[in-house]
Every structure is written in C-alpha cells, then in structure tokens.
C-alpha cells in the first residue's frame, strides 16, 4: 500500500546513491511521511503552482526579504520557501537536541577556559595556535567574566544527514547566527497555504523562540540590575538580515536600536528615547566584534557605540553573544570538538563531527594536496559559504589554483571528505514538479545561566540548484518548514 498512485510524485526521480529523507531504501515511504504524502497526493500539480505563487507574493508583501550584495548593486530578494515540509521524528530530534546543547555547553566552557587559565592548551589537548593565530581571539577579553558566565548565548548548529543515515555537524555558528525568523515565517506561510495537513500531525510550535530568548538573556543580566532593559542592536536597515533583527525585537518586545541610538556615560550604556536617556543592561547584538566599539576595535566603524567595550569590561552591560566568541566557531576549532566535549563535559559527542584535515599539519597537508578531488576545501574563517571549493566539481586549472592557495597559507584552510547531504522532495518552479534536492538543518540553541533551550524545529535549508551542496541563502538556497513531532 506504500506506493499508492500519487499524481504529484509520478515523475519524482530517486537517485539510489543519495539518502532520501522521505523514502526508505527499498522505495517505501517512511512512516512519518506517509500521511503527508497521501494528503499532498490529493492535490493536483496545478494546485502547487498556484499555492507556490501565492506563498511567494505573501513573503514579498510582508517584506520578508534579504539583500544580496554583488559587485554592482544590492537586490532585495525573498528567501525561497518550499511547500513540502521536512519532518523529524521524536527519537531523531532527541539526539539532535541533546547533541546541540552538548556542543553549546562545551563551547561555552572552552571559551571561558581560553579567556582565563587556558588549561586545555596547557594540557596539550588543543594546540596554542588555535588562539595565537586566530584573528577572532580578542586579547581584550582575557580575564573578563561575562555576566552569568555565558559567552555563546545563541548558537546555530548546522547539521546534515550523510548517506549512512547519521547526523553530522558541519559547523557551529556562535557569532551572530541568523535564520531563526525564517523558521517562524515558514511555519506561518505553510499554515496559510495548506492548513489542512496540520490536523494530522502533532507538531511542536516554533513561535516561542523570542520569549525564551528574552527569558534566557535576562538570566545573564549584569550584577546589581533588578529588572533589566534589553535591546537588539542592528547595523541598520540595509543589512541583509534586517528583517530578522526587527522581527526579533518586535517579538521580544524590546527596542531595535542602531549604534547611534546608544551612548556611554560613566561606563554605563544608555539609549536615546523621546523621554530622555534610559539605561540599557542587555544588548543582543547583531554586529560583529570588530564593529561594536570604534574606540576599541575598528576605528572607522560607524555601527558601534564608542565606549561600549569599557562598559562591558566593567560588567555594566551584557553583550550577547560575548565579544570574542568568534574564535570558537573557527573551522579549525571545529575539528577538535570531540576532544573539547570530552575534556569539559567528560562525555562522548552525541552528534558526529566530520573528519577534518588540517592543512597546517604537514602530513595532512600532503594528503589534502594529493586528494583534492575527493575533498571539500574550506577557508577557516569565512562565513556564508564563501570560498568553499568542492573537489570533484573543480576543473584541472581550478584544482591548481586551490592547491596554490593552500600551499601559500595552509593555516587558512581545512579539508573534509565530501559529505553527501541527504535529499528531500522539493517543489521546483522551473519544472513545475517535485525533485530531489540536498538539505541541511540549522538548529538554534540558547544558553542562559543554568538554563538552556533548543528551538524545536530549525531551518531546513535547501540547495535549489540541482546537485548543488551549498545551501546558504546568499548562494541561492531556499528553505523548508521543519516539523518536530511530539512523541
């Protein structure tokens, strides 16, 4: 009965090498997807064409857009949304959630350590170069105890499923991970388009993110503050993630400020309101370290607040995430995650790490240079999917260029085996049909003082170009609503 006639999937091509999220190996539909498959089958493909167009214009009208920068100009684009949701079964989610918390906690302890006694280095577990050659290690943070002991309040963990059916973490994002607003928008959009399907599933809500974020941020308020005033700081409306910044401020019920709305007096931070200055205690910042205070970091930055770092150093304001967290989402640190987890928590990693070759190590560099065609080469400090080379997609000339780059600055690169991201049926505009596309999952974890929260859902990102493995929105990716089922 599994393969009931299903009109909309009649032309769905399954590549047997790839791991398909909705099909079992032998071609039956997985249990969690069965009902959905059946329900979607009742619609005609024309219905999807219409629904898809409607969903698009709804996103556009709501202004849920991001800006894409290229050489010439900036363009306002919608983040393509796919109508076929991804479903995660309760047992699988449990692993993801526990694994994400485990990583966030371990990273927090790691950050505390490398900004205090540096025991993990003294004991030879990780090399000193992780901090001494990292551009994201801030010497100014040494010895500072961040309020509540938290560095990475918000972590975005990028997880994939390989063709062995296991989850692997691809990277931890603990600077200013973005995308959470899309999780909620996707849910809203799918509800509007196909509300009927929700009746058949018990899915966790995703709308409680902002309240949890505010709650947990407030557990890390500065000492001596009773009822903290929180704000979200944004680089401004021309930033690609501005929609998200305003969304978060709105749903948290706090002010969305720009650097020029704040000032520092006697090492306390104030915002300029129509009723005069109001002291600010917690800043959820969506501005990179180098831009937060022109008197301490990049002097030509107009995004930050002069004197902010001194206020932070004196413990008068909480910054989330703390400055200097970037050192721990360096891809070189990623490769030590199993050791880091073991060292601080005395636990085995719950989520797998992809094996990584460090080009800084001569023997591994040699391996990388000889096997480029079967590896993914990543710069250690670039975000957003920039600068990634996938070995088996490169021409001979390109391979030579990459080799040259690696040889010139080996510390800047790591390499990993080409992971085969799982695929998921995705509605494709051009062919007006469902096709297999690679997906990943970004989860959002919040750490507070003795409290943590993982958003039960996450951003399933889809590489919309056929065969493409890079799912970032800036590289032409889309996204799906992600359902975590109640057990």
């Amino acid at each position: 009965m599994d393969n009931i006639e299903n009109q909309i999937f009649s032309s769905y091509e399954r590549n047997p090498i790839l791991y398909d999220e909705i099909y079992k190996k032998k071609g039956q539909i997985k249990k969690v997807y069965k009902k959905l498959f059946e329900l979607y089958g009742k619609h005609s493909i024309q219905d999807y064409v219409n629904l898809n167009a409607k969903a698009k214009s709804s996103f556009f009208n709501q202004g849920i857009t991001f800006q894409v920068y290229n050489d010439k100009d900036t363009q306002e684009k919608i983040f393509p949304f796919d109508l076929f949701p991804r479903i995660i079964a309760p047992d699988e989610w449990e692993i993801i959630e526990k694994g994400a918390i485990q990583r966030s906690k371990a990273l927090n302890l790691f950050l505390w350590d490398i900004y205090h006694d540096k025991n993990i280095i003294r004991e030879g577990i990780v090399p000193m170069e992780l901090i001494s050659t990292s551009e994201n290690y801030l010497d100014q943070m040494v010895g500072i105890d961040p309020p509540g002991g938290i560095y990475n309040h918000i972590s975005g963990t990028d997880i994939i499923k390989h063709n062995d059916g296991k989850y692997y973490v691809l990277e931890d994002n603990i600077r200013c991970p973005s995308g959470v607003s899309y999780v909620i928008c996707n849910r809203t959009a799918l509800k509007r388009a196909l509300f009927g399907v929700f009746n058949h599933y018990k899915t966790y809500s995703v709308t409680n993110y902002a309240e949890n974020l505010l709650d947990l941020l407030e557990t890390t308020k500065p000492k001596g503050v009773d009822v903290p005033v929180s704000v979200v700081i944004t680089p401004g409306m021309f930033n690609s993630a501005f929609y998200e910044h305003s969304y978060l401020a709105k749903t948290m019920g706090v002010e969305l400020v720009e650097g020029r709305d704040l000032f520092v007096e006697n090492d306390f931070v104030y915002m300029k309101t129509i009723k005069g200055p109001i002291k600010v205690d917690i800043i959820y910042r969506r501005i990179d370290d180098q831009f937060i205070d022109p008197l301490e970091f990049k002097p030509d930055s107009t995004l930050g607040v002069p004197g902010l770092f001194a206020a932070y150093k004196k413990g008068n304001v909480t910054l989330a995430n703390a400055p200097g967290t970037g050192v721990a989402d360096d891809k070189a640190v990623y490769t030590y995650m199993p050791q880091i987890i073991k060292y601080y928590l005395n636990e085995e990693p719950i989520l797998n790490n992809v094996h990584t070759y460090h080009c800084s190590r001569p023997d591994e560099l040699k391996y990388v240079l000889e096997h480029i065609h079967e590896l993914v080469i990543k710069p250690v400090d670039e975000a957003g999917g920039y600068g990634i080379s996938i070995g088996n997609r490169l021409t001979k000339a390109e391979i030579e260029t990459v080799k040259k780059q690696i040889t010139e600055s080996p510390r800047k690169y790591v390499a990993q085996p080409i992971m085969s991201l799982s695929v998921h049926p995705t509605y494709i505009d051009e062919s007006e049909s469902f096709e297999q596309r690679h997906v990943d999952l970004r989860t959002f974890t919040i750490l507070g003082k003795d409290k943590e929260f993982v958003l039960k859902g996450g951003l399933t990102r889809v590489a919309l170009q056929k065969g493409n493995l890079i799912v970032n929105s800036s590289q032409g990716g889309g996204s799906k609503d992600t359902w975590v089922l109640k057990g």
Binding site: F60, N61, Q62, G63, G236, M237, F242, Y243, S246, Y247, A249, K250, E255, L256, V257, E258, R260, D261, M271, K272, T273, I274
Partner: protein, 315 residues
Amino acid sequence: MLARVANNLFWMGRYIERSEHIARYLNVNYFSSLDAPNAKSQDRQFVLRSMLFLVGEPDVDENVILKEQEVLFKIGLDTESPFSIINNVKYARENANSARDLISTELYESINKFYHFVLNYPSDIFLKNGLHDFTSNVAEMTAILRGKIRGTLLHDSVYAIIMMGVNIERANQIIRIINTKYNDALKAQGSYGDKFGNSFEWTTLLKCAESYDMMRRFYKKTPTSISTLEFLILNPNCPRSIMNSLNQVYKNIKILDPSMAYNKKSTAFLIGKVRAEYQYKYIEEIEENIQIFIEDILNSLNEISLKMEKEFFNY
C-alpha cells in the same frame, strides 16, 4: 521609544500624506483643466506650471515651453527628483522599515505593497494613459494606510507621532495647495463680477483637497474665494482644514506630553498657542492679505516641526 525611531515614524506619516496630496493635485488639475470654462485654466502650460509650483520647483522662466510628459514623469515616477511621488513612497517605506518593530505587521504589509505598486508602475503606461489610474491608486492606498494606522496600532505614543506627522504634513500641503491655487486664481480670473473671487480655480482647489462635495453641502453655493478659504482654513469639521489638522496635532501632542504644567518652552505649548490663534480668526482678516497669512502659517508649522525635533527627536 527611541528618538530616532520616533523621527522615522513622524516622517513616515508625513511622506504618506505628502504622496497623497501630490497625486491628487496631479489628478484633479490635469483632468479638470481639460474642460475648464476659460482658456487660461485649460492651458497646458498653465497647468504644468501650477504642478511644478506645488512641489516647490517652479519654472521661473515664463518663456520656456514645458513638455507635458517630462513634467508628469518628473513629479510622478522620476527617482532622480526628490519630490516625486515614487520617492515620497520610497522614503515612507524606508522610515517604516527602521520602525518596523513598532508598527503592526498589517500596516507594514500595506506600506510595502504600496511601495511595490509604485516601484513597478511602468512609466510608459503612466505617461500614455495611466495618469488617472496611477494617481487614484496612490490616493486609494494612502487611504488604506490611514485606515491601518488607525485600526491596527495601539493608540499610544507611536500612533500619536505618526498622526502628528500626518496632520502637520496635511496642514502644510493644504496651505501649499491654497498658495498655488491662489496664484493660479490671480492669473485665471472668472468671467463675471469679482473675477478673482469667482475663479474656476477655487473649485479645483476644493477637489484637490477632496472637500468639494462637503463644501457644496455646507454652503449650498458655487465656491468663491472667501467661502473656499473659510472652509479649508477655519472650519474645524472639514477633515482637511487647517483648523482640524491643528486640532489633531494638539490632541496627539497631549498623548506624548500629558503634562498640564505651564511650560512655555514645550512643543505642546507652541501648538496650543498656534491653534488658539486660528481658532479665533475670521476669514475677512485672512482675506486682507492672503499672501502674508500663507507665509505666517507655513512659518508656524515649520516652527512646530523644529521644536518637536528638538524636544523629541534629538539624537
């Protein structure tokens, strides 16, 4: 509320209101001139000059022959000209963008739709036969926005600031329209009796302010200079009148500054003072020297705006 964001909301209100008045002015003047009763009012050059006068870009050289398409494009869809409708809508949206966390999703969505409508309006169609469609849509959409402002926002300081922007701009635009039409009426005088007082331009003026029908109901006579000005300036029940705008501004500043204490430096005090002045004016006083009256009221409105900026938006 952040001072900067308050400023943005204020200007969002102003730009929304401004785009409506410009759009309606284009519409009414263009179409009523087509069958106006005298040659001057029908004259293309006359109408185009009047439009440029309104947006503050009068062409001083009377000998230049203006090209209709160029003028319409410049005021309607030219992104290069700062006063164009398209730019006003763009500014309205930019200001809304930075205050997005404070306004309702519904209001933002409508502003965004408005922006996309204007942005995507094909200029060739606009110039060929879209003037009416475009301008009446703009007017329509601003009406929707006013509805969303009233119906989906909490009537607190956010609302008060937007409404102050709307009403200060409305008073400004009405007075500018009066000024423009007053100039036009001087040039295109009526054919009988008091030629200036009976100019066809007074009817156009009322239509520009969407007040023609109500005015006819109220006075039951053909509009003259004196009845038109009285209605548009002093009648507190006419929603577009200067008096009503000042009343609204006063009502809203009291939300922002509820203090009853006497403070001659406050914006509320200044607004109250200006309002009281017009409340007890009669039209004959104004008619004695309309030009000076217009300058005075523009100055007062500007003073209110500056004072607000200093008191609330200083960041």
